[in-house]
Amino acid sequence: MNEERLADLITRSMDGLLTPSEEKQLRLTLDADPERRKEYEDLVRTARMLGRVRQADAPRHLKPLIMNSLSPNAHQRFRFTSPLTILKEVVMAIKDLFTGKRKPVVIGAVVAAAVAIIYFAIGYPPLGSDELQGTIGGAQKAAKYRSEQVSKKDVIVENAPLQKALQNDKFQKLIRSTEFQNKLQNEAVWSALASDALREALASDALREALRFAEVRQALGNSELLGAMKFAEVREALAGDALQAALKSGDLQAALNSADLQAALNSAELRESLRFAGLREALKNADLREALKHSELREALKFAEVRQALSNSSLREALKSADLREALASAELREALASADLREALSIAELREALSSAELREALGSAELREALASAELREALKNGELQSAMKIQE
């Protein structure tokens, strides 16, 4: 048997593709030549070792990264800059910077992404770090250069503050830290970074100002809130002047760390309502944030009467009642909420329960009734089982 034929038989033998007659032919050949047999056995061992190599799992962030980078018109024309590519550019630029291979210059999306990564990953730089303020300035200045694709041929601009920032010891230590690398595995960070709009939001003075607060940075490390950042309303709300002012309040900073609020931000109704200062103010209240997990309330937020009424502590407390939240679908009740008497009266459990009666909600349209509710006697009477029954019978 010639060498070529033997090699073919050995190869197909190892892949389990020999016919019985070929197997016999190979066995006879090897039996007649101990040296070849030894080599064959070594090859089989090699193949077994290869067979012990397991398939590694693809990183969890990969799929969202891919899906977020798909362009709607990609079948016609392909242009993309993936966050990973941007990061690679950033890291390479930084490495080159430290090794002196490249001038300390980065532009556009690269700078914005670097800033985003740093902020979202670990909330860096710390408050008052003057040396790194240049990074922010770099991102802002770079906005005008921002394009869909970053390539080697992109214009590179000198940026002294950025250069200084990148050469900062803390920054150098940061990018080499395990913590930073681990944070980069956060799927939500990558999803958020895939959004050009988010990177633009980071150019906003207000948002960056808000990021000075540890609570806000901590909140932005939460995947739900980061996920909600894909919605323009949320980014705008976070970047808005009113929210910026509100964010100076410890209550609201803490509120952003509320799981209830983060989850509720996935609701279109809430996000749209965030433009109202009254609501943002009201969000400082834990009872309200908790109540926001109920869709009835989120839907009711589109009504100005409800949002305004939310400034009332009695009403917010009363929102723990499912009856009241469901009743908010009633136009009569919402209008009636303008009455301070009614809002106060809603602290009575029996009244909230009675709101399941359509007749009662309709009756609340009457100013006389609402005023009557201010009467301690009537409120006391509402606790009477017979009266409650009577109202339910009417329904």
């Binding site: 050995i10 190869t11 090859l43 061992r45 070792m49 012990r52 190599v53 590694a56 392909f78 590519t85």
Partner: protein, 185 residues
């Protein structure tokens, strides 16, 4: 629920259904990632390559002809991307003798240790030998499919596979890495 074929999913993608592409990503991100990982020998780079592979596949979906399986077409993109990457990084093109020799007989090897040995030996091979081993052995492509991916005649794939196995065997023997306790499952 009925599982759609790759061809059906491709058709849906071309009709504008991005979710269908998500199913293809779910189906093939792991093998593509692994192929890239074995070629470039680095998880981060492999993830980057995998991302680019899928994005390019999405872009070129109209050029996909169902004469070959979808994953073979995907592998072709993956291998080209990985080769370009490896060449750009000037990775090992010749057998690398830098693998340290074994310290001597030890106790029971863990699966991770055996994997590390094989991985190290694979990286010591030339790119063309590594590729054929990855596709035919680790990814279990047929000779024909590997030929399509590598743009080689089936016969060449077989002969190259034989040589690649021999070279890998020699590397493992030379470094004292090939013995019974590592080759039994």
């Amino acid at each position: 629920m009925i599982e759609l074929t790759d061809a059906e999913l491709v058709k849906q993608c071309l009709e504008g259904d991005r979710a269908a592409f998500g199913v293809l990503v779910d189906r093939y991100q792991k093998p593509v990632f692994n192929a890239a990982l074995r070629i470039v020998g680095n998880g981060e780079d492999a993830a980057d390559i995998t991302q680019v592979v899928f994005l390019k596949a999405y872009e070129r979906l109209r050029s996909y002809k169902p004469n070959y399986k979808f994953f073979s077409w995907l592998y072709r993109i993956a291998v080209n991307e990985s080769i370009n990457f490896a060449k750009a990084r000037r990775q090992h093109e010749e057998i690398d003798d830098s693998i340290p020799a074994e310290d001597g007989p030890g106790g029971e090897e863990t699966p991770e240790a055996v994997e590390a040995i094989v991985e190290e030996a694979l990286q010591a091979l030339s790119l063309e030998h590594r590729l054929v081993l990855i596709l035919c052995h680790l990814q279990e492509l047929s000779y024909r499919e590997a030929g399509y991916v590598l743009d080689l005649p089936e016969k060449t794939v077989k002969s190259r596979l034989f040589t690649a196995r021999k070279v890998l065997k020699d590397v493992l023997i030379r470094k004292g890495r090939l013995d019974e306790r590592r080759t039994t499952r």
